[in-house]
Symmetry: C2
């Protein structure tokens, strides 16, 4: 059965039915999915969840699946239930004693976007859409194209025409309609708002955004379940629109309300790149005002200059006693390398942002050494290889002989000897 | 407890103790791990496996973990227990009614090599090694570097100096010792054999190969468990050395012996690129003689010209009633696109080889439509983007206006109309 009741405005509280609409028609506030939590009590249990598949859909009762949707009709490539792994070596480097990584690089298209896209397109199909669409500069394009391909839907994916060739190819391989637009990401976005009004398509982050956004709650659900149905003390998450962090917080709130975890305080902290840090700046300068910026950072997957959920992210961080920080491009690349060298996990630039902010907050004492802390690693380093290109390479190049190797080895050992 | 008893020569049957040795000292045959299957009976059960972690280590009782190894000392980044997903749309395209994909792109370094490396380095560390090594042109380099980094071991990874820059960077980011060797893969391999004799290091595919190879059994274990503890009718796997396929067959044999699955026939079939098909050729020409070749194919991760397990792969395929085929580079790229377009899964060239051979065997009637068939997708397409580079791209490029989009759309719709 479905516990979904309809949509509700986050600002004025007016309720409306399930439809492909994302803005309140009374006050223009964002719409959010409403659930019947009372009906869930006693029916949504550890056992009912454990009986589900090893994907986000084990939490189907807490997702906006429309009444009557057959599980076989889900748009599902297997997103979610990714590993939560202990990170003792990174923890030691940062002075954190109980650090964990949520490894979202092992999703169907190797980023956390698969969670939100799977939920969005499942709802879209149930609402009668056969065509999906999005504006994106990378991970979202990849995920929408793959999910549409795998489910027999059709997709229009709008990208800036100057996008890196590798990202274009990775999105184009799924055989969907890739539309290159002459302009920057803001131009593409503006066009998409127009197209969404004109064509009867499900734009994942426009008209089906209320469903889309709910997918990120599963990160919170999984963290709690994988910790043995206990909440962590602290979660550090990257912020683009700010939505993921607010939904992790919402996930923890729902689990507590349903008594699936013991009530306990948690903190959520947000990470941005300095070159695009409108939310972190609003937190740090005490103004609470999110001022749009023109992004200039290597962390392109986080480069949203006018973040839709900025104020909700500020609220979640301030309400839970978390923090926000931002980091330079150099700190981002340092953190990508630190994570790879200590834990064997190669993250994209957004993961570098998260680890660099984690490092900063630990150094500032805003994460205590003993806090059980989870950092969300949201995407794979293979998509942003350029970030490390001029930093890494072979230790040495030799001819194919044992003597050559031995000579090079002893030379490099001497070079590494302190004092030389 | 450990059920590992020692090593045994696959040719002459002589037994020896657990050590870092891979060749029989009497007949130079390959050594294999020996287990006490009788002691396992009744102790290794569905329940004991289900109680384990969601990784290859849930099958620890059937892996060469040395007696007394503490699970906390495993070299474990979370490899394995990857999704087995139904592939109805690819199945429909190929005329197969019950097709499944084993998606090994979602491993810690996004290829199946993490399975064998985790097992090899766990054994190596238990045997007293603190340094790992390998020769590789890609996935193995990546996996060894990551596992060494994540576990605090040290690694020397030998690569040909002309390897693609992207692959070098992806392996180098883990901060281990990357040694570029002027020469081709065979030259690198030869040097590694010399280095292995000279330095006290664990070469994953040389002196600890008996442990390493066992890791591939987990593909077979997982397929059976994920099918509800039932064997599939047919598995199609890529062949480089030929080891993976033989170990899937061994995994099924072990499960049957332990009565963890009902006894039933299965077939294993092997896939190679025509440009490096010494095993498939030996099968197809009826000679049974594996003649070394000089590889020339885009499927570089399968390009082993002189495959160590070629005869064992021939035996497994012929004993189970399977088949072998090989496919051209064009067929490989076609299959990468077909897989992405039907199932939303973007595979590297080796996955293209597997799907292209699957297609060929289905067309030849050597896989029946009703057979429950599993294809092993062994690595991620992001590592071999070049393969599709000149095939895919934007459908059209437009200015950022609604009119421009509508015009381009109607133009492309007309272009797609049959008869024009």
């Amino acid at each position: 059965m479905s516990y979904v009741q309809g949509l509700k405005c986050r600002e004025c509280g007016r309720e409306t039915g399930l439809a492909a609409v994302h803005v309140c028609e009374f006050c223009f506030g964002p719409l959010e999915v409403r659930y019947d939590y009372d009906a869930m009590a006693g029916n949504v249990t550890h056992a009912s969840i454990a009986a589900g598949p090893p994907t986000i859909w084990r939490y189907a009762d807490l997702l906006p699946e429309l009444p009557g949707t057959d599980p076989a009709d889900r748009v599902d490539l297997g997103a979610g239930f990714t590993p939560l792994v202990p990170a003792p070596r990174l923890g030691a480097a940062l002075g954190l004693e109980d650090l964990w990584l949520k490894n979202d690089t092992v999703n169907p298209t190797w980023s956390f976007k698969d969670r939100v896209v799977s939920v969005a397109l499942t709802a879209a199909r149930a609402l009668g859409f056969d065509t999906a669409a999005c504006a994106s500069t990378g991970n979202l394009a990849h995920s929408v194209a793959a999910h549409a391909a795998g489910s027999g839907m059709s997709a229009y994916v709008f990208i800036p025409s100057d996008l890196e060739t590798a990202k274009v190819q990775a999105a184009a391989v799924y055989g969907q309609h890739l539309v290159a637009v002459k302009g920057n990401y803001d131009d593409v976005n503006r066009l998409c708002a127009e197209v969404a009004g004109e064509y009867g398509w499900a734009f994942v982050n426009v008209n089906v955004r209320p469903y889309y956004a709910e997918g990120s709650k599963t990160i919170g659900f999984e963290i709690a379940e994988q910790l043995g149905w206990r909440l962590p003390d602290h979660v550090v998450a990257p912020m683009a629109s700010g939505s993921m962090l607010t939904k992790i917080d919402k996930g923890f709130t729902e689990l507590t309300r349903l008594e699936l975890v013991a009530a306990a305080p948690w903190k959520v902290s947000g990470a941005q790149a300095t070159g695009c840090s409108p939310i972190a700046r609003a937190h740090k300068d005490g103004s609470g005002v999110v001022r749009p910026v023109r992004p200039d950072t290597i962390a392109k997957s986080l480069a949203i200059g006018d973040p839709a959920d900025g104020y909700y992210a500020l609220d979640a961080v301030e309400r839970t006693g978390g923090a926000m920080e931002d980091v330079s491009d150099t700190e981002i690349v340092d953190a990508i390398q630190l994570l790879a060298r200590t834990e064997g996990l190669f993250a994209e630039t957004a993961g570098g942002v998260t680890v660099a902010v984690l490092r900063k907050l630990a150094a500032q004492g805003r994460i205590e050494p003993s806090e059980r802390t989870v950092a969300v690693i949201s995407g794979v380093g293979l998509k942003t290889l350029d970030a490390v290109a001029d930093r890494v390479g072979p230790a040495f190049t030799i001819n194919a002989g044992l003597d050559d190797f031995t000579a090079a080895l002893s030379l490099s050992a001497r070079a590494e000897t302190p004092g030389r």
